[in-house]
């Protein structure tokens, strides 16, 4: 449209459009700052303004690109299409990685160079060693229970009359936030303590009391409290493992199972010799995803115990270092450690990608 106009109209129009966009973005932002008191209005306005700004930006940038002389046009259009995403990625992930790396060698305020001091803290401080130990528990037991649980349910529910319903219900916690799950399980573990005629309102303690045991403050029991927290992640993530594993099981050709059955293999034998080997790559992928997940785990610990009572984890210590102690050097060193642990997975993904024929 605009590119068909005569140059003497085209360029002023483009400049006017660009000006309008800048005003729209800036003015909308100012207006949203002045709407703080009207919550409903602010929400409606923010959503409308945010979405329309992005659309407007693309329309205007594209109009400019398309009005450029032909040799430049193709390049400019590609830049408009891929540019914003790449710019955001570089600003939000690539540069921050380098900046965090730099910060990890600087002091608490990011001013003086302190060498490897922050990494000495990250690897030798008793707080960090405790956090690493707990993360190890999360990674080993969390992943193990999620994957075994997911596998068990996927296998048992396969071809069950209620398969859809069962899988839906086990999968449901995936939609619940970790904070919400924290409240749900804090209520399960709730402990009223000593006193006369106090009814335990937490289901776990009520069951223990009904079976003749004594109510326990579950989240305060050393070492065991980690497992009570891990149980929450297992509750949240088993559905994920189940769904992925289940679809891998269903992808095994029925003829393979049939052939085994004709040869006289029973259910257990088929499971061990056909099912498990066929879905092994899937199990590895799922385990890796959950491993990374438990390495970065933050919300559950933050909400349930705040990292106290011997339940601290690395991601929580990262948060504490930056926002409670104001030490960006130590916090960045912890973040760098997290990244370094994940690098093998990153390398594996890249290796897989290179194997594909994409983008030749």
């Amino acid at each position: 449209m605009i590119q068909n106009l005569k140059p003497q109209y085209r360029y002023p129009l483009l400049i006017a459009l660009l000006l309008f966009t800048v005003l729209y973005l800036g003015g909308g932002f100012r207006l949203s700052q002045n709407l703080q008191e009207q919550a409903v209005l602010l929400t409606l306005f923010a959503v409308f303004w945010g979405l329309s700004s992005v659309a407007l930006l693309y329309i205007v940038l594209n109009a400019i690109a398309e009005s450029l002389p032909r040799p430049l046009r193709r390049m400019a259009v590609a830049l408009v299409f891929a540019g914003p995403a790449m710019a955001l990625l570089i600003w939000a992930l690539v540069l921050p990685t380098l900046r965090s790396l730099r910060l990890s060698f600087l002091d608490a305020n990011g001013k003086e160079f302190v060498g490897l001091e922050n990494f000495r803290f990250a690897f030798t401080d008793p707080i960090m060693i405790e956090a690493f130990g707990n993360n190890l528990l999360w990674m080993i037991f969390g992943t193990l229970f999620c994957v075994l649980g997911g596998l068990l349910i996927a296998v048992l529910a396969d071809q069950n009359r209620y398969e859809k319903l069962i899988k839906s219900l086990i999968f449901m916690p995936m939609a619940i936030s970790f904070v919400g799950a924290g409240v749900i399980w804090k209520f399960m573990y709730s402990y009223r303590g000593e006193g006369i005629n106090i009814a335990e309102i937490g289901l776990l303690n009520a069951l223990v009391v009904a079976l003749g045991g004594e109510a326990q403050p579950w989240l305060l029991l050393p070492l065991w409290n980690n497992f009570f927290l891990i149980a929450i992640m297992v509750w949240l993530q088993t559905g994920y493992a189940m769904v992925i594993i289940s679809s891998a099981i269903k992808a095994i050709p029925e003829s393979l199972n049939e052939a085994a059955r004709v040869d006289g293999a029973n259910g257990v034998r088929i499971f061990a010799s056909i099912t498990v080997p066929s879905i092994m790559p899937t199990i590895v992928t799922v385990s890796t995803t959950i491993l990374i997940f438990s390495l970065k785990l933050f919300d559950i610990v933050r909400v349930m115990t705040g990292g106290n009572f011997g339940t601290n984890v690395i991601a929580n210590e990262f948060y504490l270092r930056q926002f409670t102690y104001g030490n960006s050097g130590q916090a960045s060193a912890i973040a760098v450690v997290l990244l370094v642990v994940i690098i093998p997975v990153l390398a594996y993904n890249l290796h897989q990608f290179r194997g594909r024929k994409a983008l030749k």
């Binding site: 932002f29 949203s32 919550a39 929400t43 945010g50 979405l51 659309a55 594209n62 398309e66 193709r74 408009v80 299409f81 891929a82 914003p84 995403a85 955001l88 939000a92 992930l93 690539v94 921050p96 649980g149 068990l152 349910i153 048992l156 529910a157 071809q159 069950n160 839906s168 086990i170 449901m172 995936m174 904070v179 924290g182 409240v183 749900i184 209520f187 709730s190 006369i196 106090i198 009814a199 309102i201 937490g202 289901l203 509750w235 559905g239 992925i244 259910g267 997940f293 933050f298 919300d299 909400v303 948060y319 930056q322 916090a331 997290l338 994940i342 990153l346 993904n349 890249l350 990608f353």
Partner: protein, 362 residues
């Protein structure tokens, strides 16, 4: 598992039933509790709304004023000291007496074992309280009235919407443009840039938080919705570009060529053809991103702080301030779950598809 043997069928059915109960009961408990009267919540477990046998108070009487509570007291033929009476003493199979309050009260309550049906006091009061900004009060197990500041979850719901909707749509739009460019345009650096996208899939976002926070402080963006949109867009983009590229690159080449021959610009082709054709992939990612943003706590905590609390931070703050106020915590938790659960159950198919395609994400 497919087995003909009825015994194993029964065992498998039983195991599955147990697992399903284990997975649903915790949520059910919070759901039921959120509708119970606060005094009931603190004096009995939520499962007591089911029919069960329980001791019900049927009467009370006063002991004579000259009863000495420091010596064993005999009532209805049973002798026991104060502590035992305070705990409650069975005087017959179905009648239990219990001293009420301190030694001076000399009041005895009579309990009888009875079947209790679905007699719960259900109420919306907890929801009203948690949504309110003003003072709210509730009754604890002893019937004392306790005052609290409301948690203003109304604002949290609005803030969550203001964060989540743009933070879901913006990355989709930006990623779709980029996916189209990677799939169907020639430009220098195309392959290395896409390798960068793949590499960024698993980068932990902790590494980005502090530098981005520094930028926001410099630009005065801390605590604004814009800061959340930008951050969530940045963090969601690798997966979005990757998923959408996989989809868009499988669209047939012919449609682009015929559109080009008709004189359509890439922009028109994108808006008229690519977006409508990619709806399944867009929906998969949209659900994925929406659930992630709505349920996110860390990013909101870092960039929004207490200025515009979203649902998760409001709920987490309430756990910190009022960790035992279960009537507020349960209703707040359930409020935060309604929308994601609805989206989840309505669009589960798309969600699963996105999950499969994106299981490389960290």
């Amino acid at each position: 598992m497919n087995t003909k043997n009825p015994f194993w069928r029964g065992v498998i059915g039983l195991i599955l039933l147990m697992l399903v109960l284990l997975w649903t009961i915790p949520t059910l408990g919070v759901f039921i509790t959120s509708f119970r009267d606060s005094q009931d919540i603190y004096s009995s477990g939520w499962w007591t709304i089911l029919p069960h046998k329980d001791w019900v108070k049927v009467d009370e009487f006063q002991l004579p004023d000259d009863t000495n509570p420091n010596e064993p007291v005999t009532i209805e033929g049973q002798t026991a000291d104060f502590d035992q009476w305070r705990q409650g003493v069975l005087v017959s199979e179905t009648r239990r007496l219990q001293w009420y309050g301190n030694k001076r009260s000399r009041k005895i309550e009579v309990f009888q074992e009875q079947w209790v049906g679905f007699g719960a006091n259900l109420t919306f009061q907890n929801y009203k309280d948690v949504l309110s900004t003003g003072q709210v009060s509730y009754q604890d197990a002893q019937g004392n009235t306790i005052r609290r500041q409301g948690n203003n979850f109304t604002a949290a719901v609005l803030n969550s919407l203001a964060v989540s909707i743009p933070a879901t749509v913006i990355p989709i739009l930006i990623a779709a443009f980029a996916a189209y460019a990677f799939a169907w345009m020639e430009f220098p650096g195309r392959r290395p840039l896409f390798i960068m996208v793949v590499a960024l899939l698993v980068v932990p976002l902790q590494i980005a938080l502090i530098p981005i926070l520094r930028d926001y402080t410099r630009w005065g963006l801390n605590g604004t919705f814009v800061s959340m949109w930008l951050a969530h867009t940045g963090f969601g983009l690798p997966l979005a570009v990757y998923l959408l590229y996989n989809y868009v690159s499988t669209l047939p080449r012919d449609i682009f060529e015929s559109a080009y021959l008709d004189g359509a610009t890439p922009f028109n082709t994108f808006v008229r053809l690519v977006l409508p054709l990619s709806i399944p992939a867009l929906a998969s990612f949209a659900i994925f991103q929406f659930l992630w943003v709505w349920n996110d706590y860390l990013v909101a905590l870092v960039f929004l702080g207490d200025k515009h609390r979203v649902m998760t931070s409001a709920l987490a703050a309430m756990v910190g301030e009022k960790g035992q106020d279960w009537h507020l915590l349960t209703s707040g938790a359930f409020l935060s779950m309604i929308l994601p659960l609805t989206v989840f159950f309505a669009l589960q198919r798309f969600f699963v598809r996105g999950l499969m395609a994106g299981s490389v994400k960290g």
